[in-house]
Subunit: 175 residues, 2 copies
Amino acid sequence: MVHAEASNFAEGISKTQAYAQVLEQATALFEDQRNWICNLANASSLIYHALKSLPTPSNRVNWAGFYVCSPNDPSELILGPFQGKVACQTIAFGKGVCGTAAALKKTQLVPDVENFAGHIACDSESQSEIVVPIMKDDNVVGIIDIDCAEKNGFGEDDQTALEELARLLVRSCDF
Amino acid sequence: MVHAEASNFAEGISKTQAYAQVLEQATALFEDQRNWICNLANASSLIYHALKSLPTPSNRVNWAGFYVCSPNDPSELILGPFQGKVACQTIAFGKGVCGTAAALKKTQLVPDVENFAGHIACDSESQSEIVVPIMKDDNVVGIIDIDCAEKNGFGEDDQTALEELARLLVRSCDF
């Protein structure tokens, strides 16, 4: 199997089909592999390329990746694998969209980051954002973070699929 | 500081200038951060965007990232942070370009991957490759791996700069 093909999404597929492929490919990749760094690296590639294959606004994704709980400080998120431009290295629980999702243990769907109090502008190009907590039992082990260079980049369909991916990641990885 | 700006490379800069920016930005990013996952994630972004900003063949980079020594098996590399399409999860020391660089502790500059005996085709698009070992004392802790969709994608100037980056990574990260 040429692994890169997992990141190839057919032209004209729907968002539902793209996320179905992400989940299917991720499930297959994680089958014999529980290393979380390896799995989050491939997962960020799948998400990024899935969104890039879709019509606007999805294809205006400009960052897709992960923050995980810092091994040194349980109240801090630290940058994990991602696709996109250089990103903030650490984010305190409660700060910005990522820190809020981690503190509240609740997905943050932000149609316009400028209206989110305390938003951390790692990239001034980002206009909207979705952050989904990755929960092991009742504890946050990390978050999925995706930015879009357009407002209203994400909807409830993204939320539903990414929350399913978060559950798959917890089942499949030793965090 | 908006971190994403570190990945912005001015149009028309030379390869020497691009790598100088990579090393300068990486040095600044690593100053207060020794987490290797976080630092390799940002380093892969810097390398990828630096090469994308250059003339062909450099801008035909299609994968830039890292493999590290597996915590479970010291004779195996496991996928770390990267930019590009989904990649092979594990590579045995001695196998393919990455495994050869790790086994020989020596940079592999491969102008045409089809002529490299035992090349692992993670992505059929990749035509040339450079792999630089990251050495801590006399031990390999990981490798920098970059693929290009054109033959002869890398030269001695890439090798020199990436070997300097590898030394910076060893000094700056707790592997």
